[in-house]
Amino acid sequence: MKIGIVCPYSWDVPGGVQQHIRDLAEALIDEGHDVSVISPADDDTPLPPYVVGAGRAVPVPYNGSVARLSFGFLSVSRVRRWIRDGDFDVLHVHEPEIPSLSLLACWVASGPIVATVHTAIPRSRILLVTYPVVRTGMEKINGRIAVSEAARTTLVEHIGGDAVVIPNGVATRRYRKADPLPGWPGAGGAIGFLGRLDEPRKGLSVLLKAFEILGPQRPGLRLLVAGPSGDEQDILNRVSDGLRDRVVLLGQVSEEDKVRVLHSVDVFCSPNTGGESFGIVTAEAMAAGVPIVASDIDAFRQVLRGGEAGELFATGDAADLARVAGRLLDDAARREQLSAAALAAVADYDWSVVAKDVFSVYETVVLGSTQAAVTALSNGFP
C-alpha cells in the first residue's frame, strides 16, 4: 500500500511525535509498504530516504509557549505538491489539531485520511474557540487513532466523534541488552530517573523527596538521574548535604546511553504527576526489563497492567514512593518477577505489533472510501 504520513513538528528536533512517526514508518517499510513522510526540517538536515522536507518551521507563540510550526500558503503548496506526486492510497496525519502541516494536509487532501492524536490536554475553552477555524480540515478525517485513553478522552470531549486507541510502539529490540555504566548499580542499590529535570509534571521533586527518606536508611543507595535542562546546582540544593554525593546527574544522554542508564539501576522510577498520555520512557524501561515504580496515573496504570508489570504508588506522595521503592529494593525475587512481567507486557507494544494495528485502520478507511486514492484539492490557493 502507498502510505503518506504527515509530521507537524521539525524532523531535526527530538520529540515523541517525530520518534513515533520514524518508528511507525520504518515498521511499515519492513512490512513491505511504500511509505513517504513529509515533515518540516531545516534545509541542511540529513533526512532518511523516506522523508521529504517541507521547509523550515517558524517559531511562533502557541498556547503560551513558543513552538516551531509550518503554516502559510507556501507550506500549503508544498503539501499539495507532495500529495499530488505521492499518489497515496491513504494519508496519515499526526496531531491535526496543531496549526502545522498535518492540519494543512487535511485541508488540501481528499480521500482516505487517518489521524493520530498524541496529546492529552485538560478540558479548556481554547478548542471551542478555535474549532470553527479548523472544522473543514478535521471533518475530512475518516479514521482517528489516539495513542492513549487519555488522548482519546481529550479528542472526544473537545472535538466529538470517537477514536480507536492504539498505544505508541516501543522499538523493544533497541532496549533489551546493554552494558551498565561503569560502577553501577553498585552494592547499595540504585534508583533511576529519565526525563526533563525542570518540568514539574515529570515529578523529579517527588523522587528527590523520597530519596530524603530512603537515603538515610540505606547508606549505599544512589540515585541516577538523566535528562536535559535544569540547573544542576539547584537540583543538588534540594537534597540534604549528606546525600548530595549520592545523587548523580548525567545531563542529556544519547540514545545508546539512555539504554545503558536503564541497565544501570535496580529500580526505575516514573514519578510523573500527570499530563503523560502514554509514558514512552516507562515503556522503554519495561523493554529493558528493569523493575519499575511508577505513579498511579491513568497512563502508567494502563501500560503496567494495573500494577502487575510494575509497582504503583500514590501520585505525588513521596512517603508512599519511599515505602514502595524500599520494599522493592529489599525483595530480589519480586524484582525478578516484575522484570519478567514487564518484558512480557511490553511485547504488546512492540512496533511490529502496533504497525499492524495501524495498518488495519488504513485498510478499513480505504474500504469505506469512495475514492481510490488521495488527491489534492486546489482550495483557490496557488
Partner: protein, 181 residues
C-alpha cells in the same frame, strides 16, 4: 507690623493655592491615565476582534487561522498576564503578515483587502494608544515623585500607574531575538 501680617497671609495664601494647584494637577493626571488606559483597552479589543475575524474568514490557510485564533483566545483568558498574551498575538500576526508575498497571495479575494487593512489599522492604533498611555503614566509618576508631592502626600491613596510594555510592531525584524528565543 500690619505690612508684616499682610505679607505672611499673602504668602500663606499663595503657598496654599500653589499646593492645591499641584494636588489638582496630580489628580488630573490620574484621570488622564484612566482615560488613556480605557483607550488602550479599547484598541486592544478592536485589534483582537479584527484578528479573530481574519482567522475565521476562510481567507487564510487553516494553520495560520488556528494560530491567530489561539492567540486571540489567549488575550481573552485569564491564564496569562495581559501584556504577554497581547505580545503573543502581535507575534502571531507578525508571523502571518511577514510571510513572503503574503498580501499578493490574498489579493483579489473577496473582502481580503478590507480585513488586512483593518488588522493593520487596529494594530497601529494599539501602538499609538500604548505610546500615549505610557507618556501620561511617565508624567504622572514624575509628578508623584517630586519632593513636595511626596512630603504632603498630594497623590492621596491613588496607586502609582504602571507602564504597559508589550511587543506591538507588526513589522519588526523576524529574528529569533524579537521572538524572545
Amino acid at each position: 507690623m500690619i505690612t508684616d501680617i499682610v505679607i505672611v497671609v499673602a504668602a500663606a495664601l499663595l503657598i496654599g493655592v500653589y499646593v492645591s494647584w499641584r494636588a489638582g494637577r496630580i489628580d488630573r493626571l490620574h484621570a488622564r491615565v484612566d482615560m488613556a488606559r480605557a483607550a488602550l483597552d479599547a484598541t486592544l479589543l478592536r485589534r483582537s476582534s479584527a484578528a479573530m475575524e481574519l482567522a475565521g474568514s476562510g481567507l487564510l490557510d487553516p494553520a495560520t487561522g488556528l494560530l491567530l485564533a489561539a492567540a486571540v483566545h489567549g488575550t481573552r483568558s485569564s491564564d496569562r498576564p495581559r501584556d504577554l498574551a497581547e505580545s503573543d498575538l502581535t507575534r502571531a500576526l507578525r508571523a502571518a503578515f511577514s510571510q513572503p508575498d503574503f498580501r499578493t497571495s490574498l489579493s483579489g479575494k473577496e473582502g481580503a483587502d478590507e480585513l488586512l487593512t483593518e488588522v493593520e489599522g487596529t494594530a497601529h492604533q494599539v501602538y499609538l494608544a500604548r505610546k500615549f498611555y505610557n507618556d501620561v503614566v511617565a508624567a504622572t509618576r514624575d509628578a508623584r515623585r517630586r519632593p513636595l508631592a511626596r512630603v504632603l502626600r498630594l497623590s492621596g491613596r491613588a496607586k502609582a500607574p504602571e507602564f504597559f510594555e508589550m511587543d506591538d510592531s507588526l513589522t519588526a525584524e523576524k529574528t529569533g531575538a524579537s521572538l524572545g528565543l
